[in-house]
Amino acid sequence: MSVIKVEELKLIYGAGTPFQKTAIDGVSFEIEQGEFLGIIGHTGSGKSTLVQLLNGLLRPTEGKICLNGKDIWEKPKKIREVRFKVGMVFQYPEYQLFEETVYKDIAFGPKNMGLSDEEIDERVRKAASFTGLGDEYLQRSPFDLSGGEKRRAAIAGVVSMDPDVLILDEPTAGLDPLGRDALLSQIKTYHDVRKNTVILVSHSMEDIARITDRILVMNKGRKVMLDTAANVFSRGEELEKIGLRVPQITKIMMLLRQKGIPVDTSVLTVEQGFNEILSLARSSV
C-alpha cells in the first residue's frame, strides 16, 4: 500500500495579491511503503515547497495529501501527529539546535510526542548512534561541535521521533566530499535497517542516483518525471532543457552511444562505467 498519496496538489502563495505565485501546480504521485525516493529539480522548482506540504507545514490551496490512506488535513487540529509521522530535516538543520546538550536537543521531538523518559532515552541513544554520534557527544553543548557533527545532531533530532517517512532537504549541502559520502551512506543504512520510507531532496544527480529507488523530477512546480534513475537519465536531453544534468559518467556513456559504440547508457557510477567499457573492450578484441 502506498504510504503517501498526493492528488492534484496545488499551492498558490499570496493568492489575490500582485505577488501571487503558483509554487506547486497539479502534482500527483504515490510513494510506496519502504521506498527510497529522490526529488530533484532546479532552484525554485518547488521541491522544498513540495516536501513542506507533505508534512503539513504548508496547507495546499487545492488537492489532497493522504498519509496511510487518510487525508492529513481532515482534522487540522491533529496536524502535529502528521508531523511526528513524517519527519522533516530542513536545509542547514544545524541552525535549529538550541538546547544545552546534544542529548536534550535530540530529545526535543520525542518529548513533544509525550513519550516516557525511558522511551525517550532509548530513542535518543539509538538516533545518535544511527547518525554516527557516540555516547561521548551526548552531554556536550551542540554549539561546541563542528559543522558536520552539528548536522548529525540535528538529523538525529528528527530520526529520534521514529517517523514513518523521513524527509531530508539537501542534507549534504555545504559538507566536504568525505562528510557527504559518510552522511549519504548513513542515510542509506538507516533506510535499509529501519525499512522506513525515505525522501531525499537534492539537486545533485550523483547523490540521488546512487542511493534512491525512484526519482521525482520537478520543474516550475510541476512533476516532469517519476521513474527509476536509469529511466530518468535515459531522457537526458529533456533533463538538460530544464537545467539539470545527468551524472558525468552517464553523459559519457550517452556520447559513446551516439558515436555508435554499443554501451549501456543506464550506468550511474564511475565504477559501473569502468566495468562496462572494460567488458565491451574485452568482447570486441
Partner: protein, 271 residues
Amino acid sequence: MVRDVTLGQFMPGQSVVHKLDARTKLILLIAIIVFIFAATNYMSLLLITLASLLVVLLTRISFKMYLKSMKVILMVVLFTGIINLFYGSGEVLWEWQFIKITEGGINNAVFVTIRIATLVIISSVLTFTTSPSDLTDGLERLMKPLTVFHVKVHEIAMMMTIALRFIPVLLEETDKIMNAQKARGADMESGGIIKRVKALIPVLIPLFVSSFRRANDLAMAMECRCYNGGRGRTRMKVLRFSLNDLWALIYVLIIFAGVILCNIYFPATIR
C-alpha cells in the same frame, strides 16, 4: 503575518517626491510635523491636511498603502480620540453619572484624530519614498555638525543602515526556524501566555546564535574591505540639492504662512 506591515516600508518609484533629496524630505517632514501641532483651529488643520494629501498624490503610491500603514496604529488613534472625547469644557451635550461629553470634548477628539492621521500619512511619505540607505545617508549629513560634540555620527548612521538591512533577513530566518521546530512537534499556536512564551525559546535561541554569527561574518567582511569608520570615506551616490528641492521648500513655506494666517484670523478651537 509580520510581513504584511507596511509602516516604514520603502516603495521604489520615479515620482517627484522620490527624487527629492533625503535631507530636504527629513527637514520638511519635521517642519510639517511642527505645523501640525501649531495649528489651533480647523481651518489651519484643514489646510495642512489638504497640503499633505497633495504630497501623497504626488508620490504616485496607491492610497491603499497609506491606509494599510494607518491600520497598524488604528488602535492608538481610536484610543486617543476616545479619551479626548471626555476632556474639555463648554456646553454639556450628554451626561451619564460622572461621564460628560462636552462640545469641547468632541472638538478635541476630532482634532486629535485628524492630527495623528495626518502625522502618520505625512511620515509614511518619507519612508515610502526614501530608500533606507538614502535615509540614513541624509540623517548622517544632517547630524554632521554634532561631530563637534564628539557624537559618532557616522557610526550611528552605519548601525541604522545595518539594522534596517537585516530586518527582512531575520524575518525569513525566524520563519525557517519556526518551521523546523514545528516539524519537531513544537506547539506555538495553543496554550496560555506562559506556555506560548516558553514555546518561543526553541526559536529565539537559534535566532540569537545566528544573529551573532552574522554579526561576526559581517564585521569580518567589512574589515576585509578596509572599513575603518567614516573618516576619509567617500560616497558613490552623493546627495545633491536640485531645483525640485527648492520648490518643495517654497511649498512648505507657503503652508507655513497659511497656517499662521489661519491661526491669527480664526478663533482657536482647542485650548
